[in-house]
Point group: C2
Chain length 303, copies 2
């Protein structure tokens, strides 16, 4: 089952030749969740062969240009491509003002509905749910209201071992009970435990997106054990003061949080355009949390 992250852009506000502004797509079993939408996100999707028509929900962290200026074009392109399905956009209230302006000024006549869902950036709460995942907000702290998102697969039921079902002649009507955890008692009273009748599925995976934010050590509670954490690491640690002033995080801080939250893997991004050697950033993070990788445009991570 797909649970896959594609990095469209991992630069910060000042453009560089090496990076696009923030944007990524989480592919959950063919449903695309777009997370932030910097200028050029739609071009990046085309380059990576990701159809924007698979996007049903967009999650926006905060209303800074390098995270939202791809929305104006994207909304129009979806209309030109013949979209009729509703588009849901989640984010702090300020993002709604951008959408209001765009709809009023450019898109009064588009053939689909854009529905904005304000997210309270102070709360860790459920903001989206479907059959396969939940999405919770993560309160961040930046120069404007900012929020992260935690995507969690729902636990899936185990697979039925068909040969056991046949061997014990278990009727079809009992399959769902067994999947849900029941054992089976044969005619002679023997109890076949649930575990012999099923094979377990992989444990549910999770992905957390935290950008932009100052270093928040307390996030370790919310992020405990996530499979993949994407965290901004705008600066090297020698610029920790600058990071605090601009409400950003250093690579050392991102790695410390990953370690303290016992996440499985850390991906750092939102690189300052001033950083010429991202390998140094990576070394700094890996000294604290070895299972760290660098984000990069075009990177696809199988979570």
């Amino acid at each position: 089952m797909n649970f896959e992250l594609s990095i469209l852009g991992c630069g910060s506000a000042k453009p560089s030749k090496r990076h696009q502004p923030s944007s990524q797509i989480l592919n959950v079993r063919g449903k695309y969740f777009l997370i932030d939408c910097g200028e050029g996100a739609q071009t990046q999707m085309q380059m990576m062969g990701l159809s924007m028509m698979n996007i049903g929900h967009i999650f926006v962290s905060h209303n800074h240009g390098d995270h939202v200026f791809g929305l104006p074009g994207l909304i129009g392109t979806m209309d030109l491509l013949g979209r009729t399905a509703e588009l849901h956009i989640h984010g702090p209230q300020q993002v709604g003002e951008l959408l209001d302006f765009l709809i009023r000024t450019y898109y009064a006549d588009i053939m689909y509905k854009v529905i904005f869902h304000p997210v309270d950036e102070r709360l860790h709460t459920l903001v989206y749910e479907d059959r396969s995942i939940t999405v919770h907000s993560i309160p961040l702290q930046h120069r404007v209201p900012s929020v992260g998102y935690l995507f969690r697969e729902k636990p899936r039921l185990p697979h039925i071992r068909r040969e056991m079902i046949d061997a014990f002649q278990i009727p079809f009507s009992q399959i769902n009970n067994i999947k849900a955890g029941a054992s089976w008692t044969t005619a002679d009273g023997t109890v076949i435990p649930h575990e012999r009748l099923t094979t377990p599925v992989a444990p549910p995976r999770s992905f957390a997106y935290c950008s932009d934010t100052v270093y928040l050590p307390d996030l370790k509670e919310i992020l405990q054990g996530v499979t993949l954490l994407y965290h901004e690491a705008t600066y090297m640690h020698e610029r920790a003061l600058r990071a605090e002033q601009t409400q950003h995080t250093t690579a050392v801080q991102a790695a410390t949080l990953a370690r303290d939250a016992h996440v499985e893997r850390l991906c750092i991004g939102h690189f300052s355009a001033a950083i010429k050697d991202e390998a140094a950033l990576l070394r700094e993070a890996q000294d604290i949390f070895p299972n760290t990788i660098l984000a990069k445009e075009g990177l696809v991570i199988n979570i």
Copy 2:
């Protein structure tokens, strides 16, 4: 002297892998005039090594996304790069509403002034002038108010032939008069005609930008004899009806206008994403006006 056009993007509204949305830079002796600013224009400038800090004036044709959605990011980037010089943006009134929204919402604190100059899209009139050029508006007709721009070099004075000045011992105080057209009378009454004292400069060059617009045959008056005409040619002529419905131009129509206006060269662009073979578009135009070229991202035309 530079009078050079760089194509940043020549696609139309629906993005394609082959084209960026409309944007180009006219470089007049080191001063950059940005003409339209589709999404991704700043990235294209970086790729082409064109510093956005050389842009003093932006001329916008109309307030459709594929011509303006690069402005939100560009304004912010200029601030991040430390701009303090005023930025002048010219365009139909509606473009001013976008700028108002951006300044109010994202850029209340930037360190330079953005000054909007509304252009009446119904008039052919002077909208900008400096020491070396004039810019006149060109009334276009599209689904929203739309305007083209005609850039004309001012006539330059001829070069003084230094050896003649020395030979006739003409005093320095007379140089400007001679440049301006005066002859010289020697002590013995011999008249040395202006033409012997100077070498002529190249005739003034001109560049016209017409996009987006329905075919307007009457534009041949305004465009008479321009050195380079960039005209939209969104469709092949077999889609002339579609062009009229959407208020666009076919390649045949653009070439007909170029021929009737006796322009020196035609560059066609604003290609529909549906066109897979632009060579066919070019052939169609060249049948009518042979001196036609196709726009292309990265193309630099020495006018």
